[in-house]
């Protein structure tokens, strides 16, 4: 017998309240009940996004949300500044290329964060950028980027700032209106504690204006179609109704706990995880000041093979950590701690990590990581 402990940076564990809500009897998506539900969840989402902007709920993955942003704002031939710090930054640039943009891709390197000075210089040199693409939390490397800083730079520029907040929103501080982020995209299966299947996207006035008379072909991702439907609390195409049921339950959990407390919890648990990992003699992959609060990336070294470690964790302890993506495959492992995660999950993660390290012959002092994490947790506020 083995329980399953899903500790990857999404999909994340589902609270029982959400599972129960998703089991409700189906309703018609053109019914008054659905419209009322839609109105309620958008109002609650706005609190989590911290925005007065319209928010569209899309029945697709986060990547579809990224595509919707690009497809409606970027015209063929437009210049786009893509700030990349890993796999999802690269993907964002690829989508822009697909829609005919002339993409100026700045690669800060896998494991590093966006350097604001570089962005400032780029924007100063080129007043023509139509959009800036940025990733708040680079899931592939466990790096967080300073979106507030980037937004301060785009505010007085023509460019629309489009941010992939898929693995951060609801788990890390994000102030859409306060920072002035034009387009924010997130997904259901990360800090929002839902199964995959929904994406959420907000458009500022500046973004809506930039989207006028867009020439790119799009149907499912059409902003005008979404906008027209939203005016009647409708969706342009058939929505994933059960996920909407779950969404309301998940948002209620977040708002009952209080968004600030949710963010604080993620911060404390991330710190406990990092300190625990370091106490075992392991090295964080990114510089600590850039480390994400929703996923901790740990570097491999010549004392152990991250893939062997993950296999032992999975087969002997039922614990799934994520591996590295692309060039980082086999070189790092990643512990997800976003959404429905509490203090004791960090103890569980580190306990399993320690026992698995021992088993693969890594020189671990059993208990050292858990002890350190407990010190952080008992010293913390949440």
């Amino acid at each position: 017998m083995q329980k399953k402990y899903l500790m990857i940076p999404g999909p994340t564990p589902i609270p029982p309240e959400v599972t129960l809500a998703m089991s409700r009897p189906m309703i018609g998506h053109r019914s008054g009940d659905f419209a009322k539900l839609h109105e309620r969840v958008v109002a609650k989402l706005k609190q989590v996004f911290k925005t007065q902007n319209d928010i569209y709920i899309l029945t697709n993955s986060g990547t579809g949300g990224m595509e919707m942003a690009v497809a409606n704002i970027v015209n063929p031939g437009d210049e786009v500044l893509a700030l990349s710090t890993g796999n999802f930054g690269e993907r964002f640039a690829k989508i822009a290329k697909e829609y005919g943009a002339k993409v100026d891709l700045v690669d800060f390197g896998w494991g590093s964060a966006v350097d604001l000075k570089v962005v400032e210089e780029k924007l100063r040199q080129n007043p023509n950028y139509k959009a800036v693409l940025a990733t708040h939390n680079e899931t592939s490397t466990g790096v967080k980027n300073d979106i507030a800083g980037i937004a301060a730079l785009t505010k007085n520029h023509r460019a629309v700032l489009i941010v992939d907040a898929v693995s951060s929103l609801g788990g890390m501080e994000f102030d859409t209106d306060g920072w002035g982020v034009d387009v924010v995209v997130t997904g259901s299966q990360k800090a929002l504690m839902l199964p995959p299947g929904l994406a959420f996207i907000s458009f500022s006035q500046k973004a809506l204006e930039a989207a006028q008379d867009n020439k790119n072909p799009k149907f499912y991702f059409s902003l005008p179609a979404a906008k027209k439907a939203l005016a009647e609390w409708n969706t342009a195409y058939t929505p994933a109704v059960s996920l909407f049921f779950g969404l309301e339950a998940a948002l209620d959990l977040i708002l009952e706990e209080g968004l600030d407390k949710v963010i604080k919890r993620h911060k404390l648990l991330a710190r406990a995880c990092r300190e625990g990992v370091k106490a075992l003699g392991l090295k964080l992959f990114p510089a600590e000041e850039n480390a994400s609060d929703t996923v901790t990336a740990v570097a491999g070294d010549n004392r152990y093979d991250p893939e062997q470690l993950r296999k032992v964790l999975r087969t002997k302890y039922g614990v799934t950590f994520a591996g590295g993506q692309k060039d980082l495959k086999g070189k790092i492992f990643r512990i997800g701690h976003m959404g429905y995660v509490d203090k004791l999950d960090i103890i569980t993660a580190l306990g399993a990590l320690e026992m698995a390290l021992l088993e693969i012959g890594y020189p671990v002092e059993l208990g050292a990581g858990v002890k350190k994490a407990m010190e952080v947790i008992t010293g913390g506020e949440v």
Copy 2:
């Protein structure tokens, strides 16, 4: 946000497979489908009971199962030897008194186990006992009793051995036919990983004969009625159908893991828990050689208040341990680890225990208990 960690000696956590099974559409309890289900689950229960005896599935709690045993075997005026080591031993004696038995109650004390020498002497002195009542695992004190030893003594005596195996069967070694236990009673909400609501009871040939022409009034607990119904894979009265769905799923989990492995797992986890507790300087309540494999009872001492500890665990960590019952209230606490429990649950339990002890000012070295438990687990076989 706080997850709930239910770590009491029943009800115990429910595996998702069982929850799903219980969500199946209702069926009629006099249908062919129910009869087939009934036949299947009894066959599987026999493997877990290790018996060829008939097993009756009752829609009531374990106490109802104990009453069914007594009500059908004991006649008013019969002499009954009740071996008590705590709350549930006392309850068994009370039931026998209610049905008019002359109860010879031997109280071995809360925290101690049955002394076989005393039982041997009692049986030698009195050839007239109609029944011997024994508790396999005394949930109130975390003490296990030697049922194999008691059964060896009753085998050549007139007395029917009736055993309360409510908090042991499916988690601790129990060999109904091998040991020669006449009546075995257990409940759904312990090691069998179901919600409360069902009890299971087996009767040997000796027990069936002793039950003939019983004079006590009984209707719901009538063995003849149950027997007649079982012959057609029926139940005498309306059964808790959804719990039967869940029962099959739970038994499948046990049989897929393998009963021997399930027992070994409980043994290892109990040892890890005990070693972890001791490494924190806490004292086990029973002598270690009598300690249960499904619940660990820990003694209070002048350095901490078990009730204050339990409150911190519940409110700050979402962890529920059980307190003491009756005279032991406030003097011990109990950690349940039966049924759907794996290695990492023990790490979670001890991690929470350590942090809560720190918080109430107990002189704890953070990590000491978890470290010791991890040593036991990584050195173990499961």
